[in-house]
């Protein structure tokens, strides 16, 4: 359990974290989302006592991090995969951390096996790829077998196999009843991993909700994607039924799962205001042939973009000219 109350962190004139209150509960993966520069890392540094809050407080298991008697046994953290001495061997890096919290050396071998780094344990960390560095960071977080885990962008630099592994690991850790807080700027990644979402932008909490609720509350409506040789006729019929019809959109919302068809073109239309059953019945009633009939929900990614549009710190101005 992590609880933040009115957390404020100011660096000079910059408000990195602005009046943040939230709680992260055990037994689930909580995704910590926000655009780059939103204050995710700062918040994690405040949780871990690296930075002192300007105002407010944050506790882990009811205690301030710096008061924990054996911190690595209670909280495991991966902040930055590069936060280690490159000249030290992976095994020694983990051993010095284990010793500092009275964790037996046998546990070092265990966590190396969990993250799959046994083969390079005797190699110096500066030769590690970013993905290997992430695995080493995850290994150090697991050293104390802690009940609370905090990961800052853990899948950065991992290959697809590694991303899948990290996702499974986090879900397993949560299923064991642990508190798992994972930050990311990629909504699509969180959609697959997180049960609950904390969304922040410009240091402020924008949403504290489940992943499902976030898409449901999106102002974008569900739509129906249709491909038909008689698209024009169907469009006219639907308009008569008070639905809105747009030509087949190239937006990601209208492109269903890759590989399941759903192309664009003059025979593709997108209908809002009717559900797929209604469109299907209407088409049947008028003898219109349908090739594709796909209900499209706004993706979590779109809901996220919509939510954080006003709080993106570094925004491209669009266009390349």
């Amino acid at each position: 359990m992590i609880e933040a109350l009115g957390l404020v962190k100011r660096y000079g004139s910059t408000m990195a974290v602005n009046d943040l209150s939230f709680s992260v509960r055990p037994g689930m993966v909580t995704g910590f989302l926000g655009p780059n520069g939103a204050g995710k890392t700062t918040t994690m540094r405040l949780i871990l006592g690296l930075d002192a809050p300007t105002q407010g407080s944050v506790t882990v298991g009811g205690r301030s991090y710096r008061d924990l008697p054996s911190p690595m046994r209670e909280v495991g953290a991966l902040l930055d995969a590069k936060a280690l001495h490159g000249g030290r061997r992976a095994y020694d890096h983990l051993l010095c951390l284990a010793r500092s919290n009275g964790i037996p050396a046998s546990r070092v071998e265990e966590v190396l096996a969990i993250v799959g780094l046994e083969g390079v344990a005797r190699r110096r960390a500066k030769g590690f790829s970013l993905g290997m560095g992430q695995r080493l960071g995850i290994a150090s977080a697991l050293l104390g077998d802690p009940a609370v885990l905090i990961f800052d962008e853990p899948v950065n630099g991992l290959d697809p196999d590694g991303v899948h592994w990290a996702r499974t690991l986090m879900r397993t850790l949560a299923a064991e009843g642990r508190t798992v807080l994972v930050s990311s700027h990629l909504m699509s990644e969180m959609a697959l991993t997180a049960d609950h979402l904390l969304v922040i932008g410009k240091g402020k909490l924008i949403a504290d909700t489940s992943a499902d609720e976030l898409t449901r509350s999106s102002s974008r409506q569900s739509s129906v994607h249709v491909r038909s040789p008689q698209a024009a006729e169907l469009a006219a019929r639907c308009r008569q039924a008070d639905a809105t019809v747009r030509p087949g959109s190239t937006s990601p919302a209208a492109a269903p799962e890759a590989g399941t068809g759903g192309g664009t073109g003059p025979d593709v239309i997108e209908i809002t205001g009717m559900d797929s059953a209604e469109v299907g019945k209407l088409a049947a009633a008028h003898g219109i042939t349908l090739f594709e009939l796909i209900p499209v929900r706004p993706s979590l990614e779109e809901a996220f973009m919509e939510l954080t549009r006003d709080s993106v710190e570094y925004q491209a101005t669009g266009g390349t000219q």
Partner: protein, 276 residues
Amino acid sequence: MTGATITRTSPDHRAAFRPATFADVLRSEWIKLRSVRSTFWALTVTVVLGIGLGAVISAVSAHSYAKFSPSEMLSWDPTGVSQSGMLIAQLAIAVLGVLCISSEYSSGMIRTSLIAVPRRGRVLAAKSLVFAVVTFVVGEVVCFTAFFAGQALISGHAPHAALGDPGVARALAGGGLYLAALAVLSVAVGTVLRHPAAAIAAMIAVLLVLPGIAQALPDSWRNPVTEFWPTQAGSQLTSVYHSAHTLQPWPGFGVMCLFTAIVYAIAWTLLDHRDA
């Protein structure tokens, strides 16, 4: 690799654990110190040059003793000559002391260290203590070995010293103590400045540059500097003979320890209050 199980214990059934102690942090810092190559190289330089340079200078000086003027013969200090390598040894120790904390800042390891041990004072204390003890042991080995090697090379060509001569044992034992105090000072300076280059420059200024500048100043300025400058005062513990405008061995070393304690207190306060 992908199918690995996480842990065999669920959070509810985890083994009871004891609070981390200062001894745990000491063990951790010992592993940190011995697991990087800069430690090996700096200590090798300390030992090889500390002993080797002392031996070479002892041999060369002893062979030219016969051509010395009477005043040079009067100030002949066979113990001091055999300890000539200390000049290099102290630089190697200062650089290593600075690096063992400032390299944590330059690599980012400091964040990992402070997450593991959020009681930051313990990190500084353990680091200083471990490095001071290692330095003390290496320093004593270097001082005594250099002394015996030096006296063996001097004997037969010039008057040599024996361990039982007045002040000799104290001066040799003092060499290790002086280096140990310097070790703590270097760690503290590295903590205050954080950047390896800046901290190394600062230590070289303390050890060589400022005392060198003082030599160019008029007596009224130079004498108090040679008397009270921390490293100058501390090094009185390592010399057998007492020269004018210097403190006695133990008070001199006391001045160095006091200065080190002040810098250490600043380092402790900054480490505790700064965002890492």
